[in-house]
């Protein structure tokens, strides 16, 4: 940590690691920096809207209504929350080992393809069995997609950022291929619908909110348990903080690398299965609305804590859902929600990295 003195106060500039994890800040402090970042994001975006001639108050009012104001709006937010929790986990667990998985997008798509494949290949099974099989296949396909990157990193020291990014494009092309294969729908550019009854049960009546959100919350709890209560999670955390010390104490960096990619990929793959089974009931071309990338921001805001990923994902989902109404209510482009997101994440990272304090007790 670099320090600059200014009178009695001290400005310290932390590392990227501090930005990811909050540098050991207390939760109060982490929460306050989140609130402050949100205020900055709202003000900055408001100024942008003003400059464009729109009324920011009206726009934000429309956004909040569109996110949580009505039953369908709230349902829409929850529908988006589910995949974001899972892609958030897909980023957070590798990040805990300081391995940068930006491949959540591809792993999600791989999971969607895997789930769809089961539904078509084993269509003679009963619907409930098929749902279970499809979910399992989604998890496995995502894990395999993650493991490709993991193996390249562990055995050949390939840069995982580049590899996972490339694998995203490959997964998307693979999905396109699957859509145009024998599964293709004769009229629309997607696969035929899944066999009847092969879908996730609705958990909130009169909405589209399905079991996916429940599975995602369970996944976050599993992720938390894995990181805090298993030797593997301990090894992942230890390796992330100090690979040299973890190695000399017998933790294998290669094993940790493979493990985090398998686990991260599995979570993203589950998201893909949930999207297919719960939302689209088919494999569609734009399977993921950048959920894989938004998941990275979700994980950072949650400071890599799997439980905090739940509210963090909800927050991003709300902005996403709310932006859909912006165009209608305030005549502002839906892209302004992206401005809110981006300014929020950047301010938060800046607030966590730079902080002003008084000299520490020595």
């Amino acid at each position: 940590m670099k320090r600059l003195k200014a009178g009695n106060a001290e400005v310290s500039v932390g590392s990227v690691t501090d930005a990811l994890t909050g540098g050991g800040d207390s939760w109060i402090r982490g929460f306050l920096s989140g609130v402050l970042a949100l205020i900055i994001a709202v003000v900055v975006t408001g100024l942008v809207m003003l400059a464009l001639g729109a009324d920011p108050i009206e726009a934000y009012d429309g956004m909040i209504n569109g996110a949580v104001g009505t039953r369908p709006a709230f349902a829409q937010t929850l529908l988006v929350t589910a995949p974001l929790i899972l892609t958030g986990l897909a980023a957070a667990i590798p990040f805990s080992a300081r391995i940068f998985n930006v491949g959540g997008e591809g792993q999600l798509v791989a999971g969607a393809v895997g789930a769809t494949a089961m539904a078509f290949w084993f269509s003679s099974l009963t619907a409930p069995a098929l749902v279970v099989l499809a979910i399992a296949a989604g998890i496995v396909a995502g894990a395999i997609w993650g493991l490709i990157a993991g193996a390249l990193r562990a055995f050949f020291q390939a840069n995982e950022v580049i590899v996972t990014l490339m694998l995203n494009f490959i997964a998307l092309l693979l999905a396109d291929y699957a859509i145009n294969s024998s599964w293709a729908d004769p009229v629309s550019p997607q696969t035929r619908p899944l066999p009847a009854g092969v879908d996730l049960p609705i958990v909130w009546s009169d909405t589209l909110v399905n079991l996916g959100i429940v599975l995602a919350v369970i996944a976050a709890i599993v992720g938390f348990f894995l990181m805090r209560r298993t030797p593997l999670g301990f090894g992942i955390t230890a390796t992330g903080y100090n690979p040299a010390a973890a190695r000399i104490k017998g933790y294998e960096i290669g094993v940790v690398t493979l493990a985090v990619f398998a686990i991260g990929g599995a979570f993203a793959g589950l998201a893909g299965a949930i999207e297919v089974l719960g939302k689209h009931h088919a494999l569609v071309p734009s399977m993921s609305a950048s959920y894989g990338y938004t998941g990275i921001a979700v994980a950072l805001v949650a400071r890599l804590n799997p439980l905090w990923i739940i509210p963090s994902a909800f927050f991003f989902a709300a902005i996403n859902a709310g932006s859909n109404t912006l165009q209608a209510t305030a005549g502002v482009s839906t892209a302004s929600s992206l401005v809110v997101q981006a300014v929020f994440v950047l301010s938060l990272l800046a607030l966590r990295v730079i902080r002003i304090s008084y000299p520490e007790v020595r």
Binding site: K5, G7, N8, T21, G24, R228, R229, T230, P231, F234, G235, T237, A238, Y241, N242, A244, A245, A246, R247, I248, K249, G250, Y251, E252, P359, V361, R362
Partner: protein
């Protein structure tokens, strides 16, 4: 050049003779929350003296000097410089009063040259860049005046640690400092570098400068100090002039009571078969020459083998190979007959090898994890804390609490982040984890680095206790007297080879010191 001077302490400070920088600190009080670091401390420094500030870890030495250096403000008390009561609001203000401090961790820019580092901040970079030869000549002049022999055009990052330290001292002299405070200056130095540093300090004294060295090493105080101030638990324990103190008196003043002598007699429980057997071991290095070249030695159970040498002669590589993190190019490492060369660190652990490296921040602990997690680092991996794959945090905490008390780690709070402990307590933490395993082989590199007499004494006792329990100990340390006081046998490394190998009882410190510089008569390759 006069137009180029913008910073404090203009370069004329380096040219005119020092005034006689008497310092007097009266009734200094400084507390951090509930901790009183300095409790009504008086400190007097006369012009032209080398003054040792002695005390255990956490006795308040660094706090007191940080106040003198303007980094901290006292809650109470008065600082008098040259007869004038002053307020030092910042290090810059202190430097204007000709007081400067060399910190334990150097504040140099590795990519800059010596000259650039020295003048950095006193004038604009642009002016340095365009007047390079002139600036370098000027820096060389100051350096030569104090007999420091520094090449102003050398890049600081390429210099060894002792030379970097000289650059730090030169930086202060160039800025006109007359009172120099050195925080644990010998912690990073070997014996030869230490005596070189002391020469420099004597040279400074001869020119009327006054020097404070913060230390917890009694031997150094005896060697160099004209006067010593001893702090204990934040209070002034004693002040003594040269001639009126000896090591024993200082130790008692420092820790407040007498230390019983270490158990006499070296290993009596030596096993018949060697526990650790290293044969024809060679380790490649990044440079052309091998870092460890065809080395063989054995350590029996119940025996401490001392490994000494000037830093950079292959000791670090040997320790890393014995931990399993560096692969040898040839040769064998056997523990109880099991071949381990080329195996993973986990295999070394399973064979009963415990390791304390010389770089605890990098290799021995994970600063961002809690104290408890650090103590459980190996235990978690081998499944000691899990049942059916689930970790018991409670058992980790409980074991940690016990170890913290047993090894007197302060504060004994298992939930703190390890990086928040002081250096000495971090060292105790690492020792607690490795020693509590009851290892077959202990590789201990600089195990007392940063520890005060009391804590070092504790480590010595633990090492001898382990030895008496039949453990084979490799003790790698820079302090010759420490190694020779503990080890049954000593091997001296010079350029990756064993320059001297002999039972300690047949060696003198001067023989060992000679062998460390390659002047030893015995250049045998193996140690019995």
């Amino acid at each position: 050049m006069d137009d180029a001077i913008t910073g404090p302490g203009s370069s004329d400070g380096a040219t005119r003779p020092p005034l006689g920088a008497a310092v007097s600190m009266r009734g200094i009080v400084k507390s951090f929350g509930p901790t009183v670091a300095n409790d009504h401390v008086d400190f007097d420094l006369e012009a032209g003296e080398i003054h040792a500030l002695l005390g255990e870890n956490g006795a308040g030495k660094t706090t007191l000097m940080s106040i003198l250096f303007g980094l901290l403000q006292p809650d109470e008390g008065e600082i008098i410089l040259q007869g004038e009561s002053v307020t030092l609001s910042s290090p810059r203000a202190a430097l204007e009063r000709r007081v400067g401090m060399v910190h334990q961790h150097f504040m140099l820019i590795p990519d800059f040259t010596v000259a650039e580092n020295v003048v950095f901040g006193t004038r604009s970079i642009r002016k340095v860049a365009f007047n390079r030869p002139e600036v370098e000549r000027e820096v060389a002049e100051v350096s030569d005046r104090y007999g420091m022999r520094l090449d102003p055009s050398a890049t600081v990052g390429d210099l060894s640690i002792d030379v970097q330290q000289r650059v730090e001292i030169l930086k202060l002299l160039y800025r006109g400092a007359e009172t120099l405070i050195l925080d644990e200056p010998t912690a990073v130095l070997g014996p030869a570098e230490t005596s070189h540093l002391f020469e420099t300090l004597r040279e400074l004294r001869g020119r009327g400068h006054s020097v404070v060295i913060i230390t917890h090493k009694l031997g150094e105080v005896m060697q160099i100090a004209d006067r010593v101030t001893v702090l204990r638990a934040g209070k002034l324990a004693t002040v003594a002039e040269r001639g009126s103190f000896d090591e024993h008196k200082l130790a008692v003043a420092m820790i407040g009571h007498d230390l019983p002598p270490l158990p006499e007699g070296h290993g009596t429980t030596r096993s018949d078969d060697p526990v650790l057997k290293v044969h024809d071991l060679s380790i490649p290095s990044d440079r052309e020459r091998r870092s460890v070249d065809d080395v063989s030695f054995e350590i029996h159970g119940g025996e401490i083998l001392g490994l000494v040498g000037v830093e950079g002669n292959g000791q670090v590589e040997l320790v890393q190979a014995l931990a399993g993190v560096r692969h040898p190019s040839s040769g064998s490492i056997k523990v109880d007959g099991r071949e381990l060369a080329g195996k993973r660190p986990a295999h070394f652990y399973d064979a009963g090898v415990a390791v304390v490296t010389e770089d605890r921040v990098r290799w021995d602990m994970i600063g961002d994890l809690t104290v408890a997690d650090n103590l459980a680092l190996s235990g978690v991996r081998v499944g000691r804390y899990s049942r059916m794959g689930i970790l018991s945090r409670r058992r980790i905490q409980r074991d940690a609490q016990r170890l913290l008390e047993e090894y007197d780690v302060r504060p004994p709070n298992p939930k703190l982040r390890a990086s928040s402990l002081s250096g000495g307590n971090q060292q105790k933490l690492v020792m607690a984890r490795e020693l509590s395993r009851n290892p077959r082989v202990l590789i201990a590199s600089q195990p007392t680095r940063g520890l005060d007499v009391g804590a070092a004494d504790f480590v010595f006792r633990q090492l001898t206790k382990l030895r008496d329990n039949g453990c084979a100990v490799l003790l790698n340390a820079t302090d010759l007297e420490e190694v020779m006081g503990l080890a049954d046998r000593v091997i001296v490394f010079y350029r990756g080879r064993i320059a001297l190998a002999s039972p300690t009882s047949e060696l003198s410190v001067s023989q060992v010191a000679a062998a460390m510089t390659g002047a030893g008569a015995n250049t045998g390759q193996t140690a019995a």
